[in-house]
């Protein structure tokens, strides 16, 4: 099968969904023909679908999200882009108080089938205003689904599923997942929301990793294999709803768990995952360990920036501390 990057996979997902359903419209800053999206995810789409369906917006994050909410309530299926994930801070009211709650507050009368796409993550020396991973904020909001693809296949299938989902979905793309290549079929498929993926099977320990950390965990697992340690790598793919069954099954099988995410440790989703495991499989567990981003904003200088996120070496070290 052909190999494409995550950016290409996302672009295909948008293109195919727009062809399939004329209600799918895109809005965001510089997503149109002049810039094609800050990370080129919307490349060529204005050219194909025109400026009515691919809308360059003013720099107005809260209105972008809110416009998507209103459009979604009235029959469109908007996919809004917030150019950098850190800037969701400007749109929290529309995402969390409006999109997430309008169905509930109206007693189920309306639905808000929108997707809010945004690139999270560090690694490019973009400093503290362009590098955070804030999925935990959304995980805490009933009414939202939260997706974090880690590879091209999932990216395409999950984005399609998100667009077809009748709930508001926050779709968290990682800037350094964008360039990862993977095999992606030509034919239409979706990856259902709420289903984890066992990215690698193993016996000694379960590594639950999200987004870019899946790639690092897989590399660590491959290296550890050579040292005789067999790691199972589980990628939740959607952090809300969380596939508790799969996560618990793996944890129960190996009895040892390492949770890895790039977002800051304190308050990150590792807490929620730990809680889930403690609730459901506490008595089967020998050890749970968390390896997350350091508790600091993301610094600019590469030597510091590289240091704040978990890497392959640290994952290996953490696994050994648990297993050996």
């Amino acid at each position: 099968m052909r190999e494409i990057t995550v950016v290409e996979a996302l672009n295909e997902a948008l293109r195919e969904e727009m062809r399939r359903d004329e209600n799918v419209v895109l809005l965001g800053e510089d997503i149109g023909k002049y810039w094609q999206g800050a990370f080129k995810v919307t490349k060529g789409l204005e050219e194909e679908f025109g400026p009515e369906r691919v809308r360059d917006t003013p720099i107005s994050e809260n209105a972008i999200a809110g416009c998507a909410v209103g459009a979604a309530m009235t029959g469109l299926r908007p996919v809004a882009e917030i150019m950098f994930g850190d800037l969701v801070a400007l749109a929290m009211d529309q995402i969390c108080n409006q999109a997430a709650k309008l169905r509930y507050m109206s007693g189920g009368q309306v639905s808000v089938p929108m997707v809010l796409r945004t690139p999270f993550g560090a690694g490019g020396s973009y400093a503290s205003h362009h590098s955070q991973s804030l999925e935990a904020w959304f995980v805490h909001v009933p009414g939202l689904k939260v997706v974090q693809p880690s590879n091209a296949y999932d990216a395409k299938g999950l984005l399609k599923a998100s667009i077809r989902d009748d709930n508001p979905v926050v779709f968290c793309e990682h800037k350094f997942v964008y360039g990862l290549k993977g095999t992606v079929p030509e034919e239409d498929y979706v990856v259902p929301l709420g289903k984890a993926h066992v990215a690698r099977e193993g016996e000694d320990i379960t590594i639950i990793a999200t987004s870019l950390m899946v790639d690092r965990a897989l590399k660590a697992a491959a290296a550890l294999e050579e040292e005789g340690i067999s790691c199972e790598v589980v990628d939740p793919r959607t952090v809300r709803p969380l596939d508790e069954e799969e996560l618990c099954a793996s944890a129960r099988k190996t009895g040892k768990v390492l949770i890895v995410h790039e977002a800051c440790d304190t308050g990150g989703i590792s807490g929620e995952i730990t809680k889930t495991l403690v609730r459901r499989v506490f008595y089967y567990l020998d050890a749970i360990k968390i390896l997350a981003g350091k508790d600091a904003p993301i610094p600019f200088a590469p030597v510091m920036e590289k240091w704040v996120a978990p890497d392959e070496e640290r994952i290996k070290k953490a696994v050994k501390e648990i297993v050996l």
């Binding site: 209105a63 209103g70 029959g75």
Partner: protein, 315 residues
């Protein structure tokens, strides 16, 4: 809409709220309550220019908008009582009444929160329902929110059929307009977005109606949004038991003397409508309100566990 119908709608709002206020002071209604009394001409005048398919968004002070757009008094009352038969099954209450079937996209308790939502509904109108428009109601206080700026600008550059109706009742809670903005007419802000703005007497239902019609026509013709400021006044305090002592007595008296319903009633009489006819309308409305209260009182409460329903769309 006929002028008689407008009169009836205004009266429905007034009587509905008098009733609700009465029940509220008897502790029969939970939560808080923002009464629209005194501002009826705005909602009714604007909605008179709309079709049932047009959309509106509303505020924390939404009873008037709901009724003017044609909502069921029964289901509204039941919602305010927190009953299962209410518009939102008791989940929303006064501040979140929604009726999707009549294009009422919801009262909204975040001040200014519905402005971008109205822009989105306007986008749907443009792309899917070219014959429809969206009206966005909000207060003087809301016009200092970032959403006002972002939303109107976006509607302007996209030429969306959205009519922004600022209900300037001179206060946001206890805060007089002059304390929080250095302009007299909020409609002046329209120029900053390159759209027409107008200020109108919000207590004169026909004046509101005519201004709204102009804006609706522009919108339907694809000429984009308008900002209409309606100067009006609330008869009651901001919410609940607010005695509104921050308002000078003369100011209150002056505005009470300009009651939008009373003055419109005089106009109808002047026009030759027989007083008995108006009496009949008045008693019809009273009956409707009584029926609404009965419906609400007799309706069942939700189950506690219903709290977990409607969070997500479940396939």
């Amino acid at each position: 809409m006929e002028d008689i119908e407008m009169y009836k709608k205004m009266l429905e709002i007034r009587k509905f709220e008098e009733k609700v206020y009465d029940l509220f002071t008897q502790n029969l209604i939970p939560g808080t309550m923002h009464l629209y009394m005194g501002e009826e001409a705005v909602a009714v005048g604007v909605c008179a220019a709309l079709t049932p398919n047009d959309f509106i968004t509303s505020t924390h002070r939404g009873h008037g908008h709901c009724i003017a757009k044609g909502a069921s008094l029964k289901k509204m009352m039941a919602e305010i009582f927190g009953k299962k038969t209410g518009y939102c099954k008791g989940k929303g209450g006064s501040m979140h009444i929604t009726d999707k079937n009549i294009g009422m996209l919801g009262a909204n308790a975040v001040v200014g929160g519905a402005i971008p939502i109205a822009v989105g509904a306007g986008l749907s109108c443009k792309l899917k329902y070219p014959e429809r428009v969206t009206v966005c109601f909000f207060g003087d206080g809301a016009s200092n929110q970032g959403t006002f700026h972002e939303g109107i600008n976006m509607a302007s550059v996209w030429d969306l059929p959205v009519i922004f109706v600022c209900e300037n009742n001179l206060y946001a809670m206890g805060t007089r307009q002059s304390l929080v903005m250095n302009i007299e007419d909020i409609s002046e802000r329209a120029a900053g977005y390159g759209i027409p703005g107008a200020t109108v007497d919000g207590n004169d239902v026909m004046a509101v109606y005519q201004e709204a019609q102009r804006a609706v026509t522009r919108a339907r013709n694809g000429d984009g949004p308008t900002l209409i400021e309606c100067k009006t006044y609330r008869h009651k305090g901001h919410s609940r038991f607010d005695p509104a002592k921050y308002r000078p007595q003369e100011e209150v008296a002056e505005w009470m003397a300009r009651d939008p319903i009373e003055s419109f009633r005089y106009k109808l009489l002047d026009k030759g409508i027989p007083e008995e006819f108006l009496h009949k309308i008045e008693s019809t409305v009273e009956t409707e309100i009584e029926e609404a209260v009965e419906f609400a009182e007799e309706s069942p409460l939700p189950e506690p566990e219903d709290a977990l329903k409607d969070v997500w769309v479940v396939e």
